[in-house]
Subunit: 222 residues, 2 copies
DNA sequence: CCGTATCCAATAAGATACTG
DNA sequence: CAGTATCTTATTGGATACGG
């Protein structure tokens, strides 16, 4: 008879002082980094997150949001009236993780196993533009680009080979793209013709812009 | 009677074209990134990995190694005779993930929850030096530093505020440190006196060197 | 020493229904 | 819409036995 079967298995913590191990305790659980990604361009509400993180269930999302909040990576906020809805937003420190995980994504894009035809969120496609732009191809091309992706709009400012992206209303743009995220991805990365999405404004700039994102060469299977 | 209870729950795959999601499928499982970290400075054998990844069990390590190999991130290799032992090493592409995950570690070091007193592997401490050095403090300081960390030795070349680290025999070094990883961490990050570890050679350089790694300021809990 | 195979217990994740 | 509650399935880790 085993009266006191001691639970030796603690809480599945890495016993490791390395910063990486700690990072994995902070955002290494399933879905956590994707949640941080979704908050990269500003606050989102529960239902948006649930919709854009295909396959996450409500209880896991709840759990992750609460864990990330406890760890100081995100916080709850209330949008100002008249919206007054509750949203989740990244803290300043949490936001600093975004460029790092974006680089992880860039690394993985070289995998021969990567399937770019899966669904993609508007945050993910915008972040990929920021990460995958080739500064050499961009040269000294400048412009202010608008993106209408379903309900959500972004403005990207191109200068010195760098894209500076912000979520927000489209104003004073040289060119405006209108598309669902997957269609935009098809044009930028899949070689689909520009005509498959909506383009208003400086068409020449648009044509040039969509060529600035070369697919990284796939790794060969040794 | 349920004859065909369909298994809808597939393989816990993210249904997401985003590179980050794919990265997490490649190296997002528990232990995977730590294994890549351990291979950052060259091949290691099974028992070394098991010893340095505190808490991993043999069957999980086996599983991860085989997954990572299938995905093209690591490969099996045999050390040349007379050693002739089997080792695991990162592929060129796998190695490219190392600086990215190192930056993840740097990000996490700012967490107020980080406990730097846990055990640390020699790879982890060497990688942290590469990541945490402050180029401004280093200025134009130059030198060739040797590290004897238990069985394993590293050589770090400091130039232009950058540390270039390689595993290998110590030769022609200006100064050589001898310590267990935790003791070296204590001196570099914990403010322990230099006398707590072994130092041979240019003591002045050693004193200067250990000040080049400022702890990042902790995030304040909002 | 270097793993692999098997079995068990604990935890995490997913599906679904349901509540304020 | 924003989550909880409950139940089921999958993954993990620990122990141990076994083969090269």
């Amino acid at each position: 008879m085993q009266l006191e079967k001691v639970t030796k298995q603690q809480k599945r913590i890495y016993d490791d002082a390395c910063g990486l191990a700690h990072a994995l305790e902070l955002i290494g659980e399933r879905w956590s980094m994707l949640i941080v990604r979704e908050l990269a361009y500003g606050p989102r509400r529960f239902s948006e997150l649930k919709a854009d993180l295909t396959g996450i269930s409500a209880n896991v999302l709840t759990q992750r949001l609460s864990d990330l909040e406890q760890r100081g990576i995100i916080r709850k906020a209330k949008l100002p009236p008249p919206a007054s809805v509750q949203v989740y937003e990244a803290t300043d420190w949490g936001l600093e993780a975004a460029p790092v995980i974006a680089r992880l994504g860039r690394w993985a894009a070289r995998s021969p196993l990567h399937d770019p035809t899966l669904p993609i969120s508007h945050v993910a496609i915008m972040m990929s533009l920021e990460t995958m732009i080739d500064p050499t191809r961009a040269g000294d091309l400048k412009g202010r680009l608008g993106f209408r992706l379903g309900e959500t709009s972004y403005v990207a400012v191109l200068r010195n080979g760098v894209l500076d992206i912000q979520r927000g209303e489209i104003a004073d743009c040289d060119v405006v793209f209108t598309a669902v995220p997957a269609a935009l991805a098809g044009v930028i990365y899949g070689g689909a013709p520009l005509e498959t999405i909506g383009v208003e404004g400086d068409i020449a700039l648009a044509r040039r812009f969509v060529t600035l994102f070369p697919l990284p060469e796939k790794v060969s299977r040794d």
